[in-house]
């Protein structure tokens, strides 16, 4: 009986802590205005990740090395590099911008804001921006080269993987364009065509390179 009472008190405490965390999360989101920035970072970096993978695929084709092992290692290496660079770049940039804002507010208020909702929201925003900046290109890169994992395991033909990868990248660019169109509330087709064109331009440059090298 006593054990049951202790269990229920533990779970209600846990529930209260979770509710407090959720409330803090909502407050930080609202105060920092990170929602809009996060969306921008996500689109920009997922776009970067997809186009970089297209570049690697085209480079491999021009260099005559459509080997799953090479493409996977180059793709994963580039994905990790984009993730690490995104994390540190976004964290430092956001932290610098928000520190400047906080210092200017401190001057107006004549108080220290570091251990307040405003200060904690600024740290939260910098970490969120960094995580999104790191994970979005890595995710886009991973989706783009995922068929080569099957090729590496001997399930799929490398050339088929190559074609599926290019198809996946163009689809990813198209989805990002549609998402941008939805965000703008304007012409979805215009954004979809613009993002897909970036992929097609990369492809054309690849063909030009191949002609140049042969």
């Amino acid at each position: 009986m006593q054990l049951e009472a202790a269990d229920s008190s533990d779970s209600s405490n846990l529930l209260m802590i979770l509710e407090e965390k959720r409330d803090n999360f909502k407050h930080y989101l609202k105060i920092s205005g990170i929602g809009e920035i996060a969306r921008r970072y996500f689109i920009m970096n997922a776009f970067d990740g997809a186009v970089t993978m297209l570049g690697i695929l085209i480079g491999a084709y021009v260099g005559g090395a459509v080997s799953p092992k090479i493409i996977l290692s180059a793709g994963l290496g580039a994905g990790i590099a984009m993730g690490v660079s995104g994390f540190f770049g976004a964290y430092l940039a956001e932290e610098a911008e928000r520190s400047r804002r906080i210092r200017s507010l401190e001057k107006a208020l004549h108080i220290d804001l570091d251990d307040t909702l405003i200060g904690r929201a600024a740290t939260f925003a910098a970490v969120m921006a960094a995580l999104i900046d790191a994970l979005s290109p890595m995710l886009a890169a991973l989706i783009s080269i995922s068929p080569f994992i099957l090729s590496f395991m001997g399930i799929l033909d490398p050339w088929l993987s190559y074609m599926i990868s290019i198809g996946l990248i163009l689809t990813l660019l198209l989805i990002l364009g549609i998402f941008l169109g939805k965000v703008s509330g304007e012409n979805t087709l215009y954004y979809a065509l613009a993002t897909t064109s970036a992929g097609l331009v990369t492809g054309l440059i690849g063909i030009f390179l191949q002609v140049l090298f042969s």
């Binding site: 105060i31 205005g33 107006a108 208020l109 004549h110 108080i111 804001l113 307040t116 405003i118 200060g119």
Partner: protein, 90 residues
């Protein structure tokens, strides 16, 4: 322990514009002994707003109010009004 309780409190506060008066008033109303909070914006600046906060209750916890206002990144400029009463012992 003192049996004099705070019933009404009027505070002049300078707050960052990021902080919504709706969130601030709700947070202050959640403190022990407070039952009603109203906030009026008196002055608007580029980064800050001067607001007048009126708190009503049966036993307002002044320290908790100050702590909450500070936690929201606001600066107390002055206490503009206070109303206290003594509990009658039966």
């Amino acid at each position: 322990m003192s049996d004099v309780k705070i019933k009404n409190l009027v505070i002049d506060v300078l707050k960052p514009r990021e902080i919504s008066i709706v969130d601030l008033s709700k947070a202050l109303c959640e403190t022990k002994g407070s039952s009603k909070v109203s906030i009026d914006v008196k002055e608007v600046d580029v980064n800050t707003e001067t607001v007048s906060i009126r708190i009503e209750g049966t036993d307002i916890d002044y320290e908790a109010i100050v702590e909450k206002i500070n936690d929201y990144g606001c600066a107390i400029r002055s206490i503009d009004g206070v109303e206290v009463y003594k509990m009658k012992k039966i």
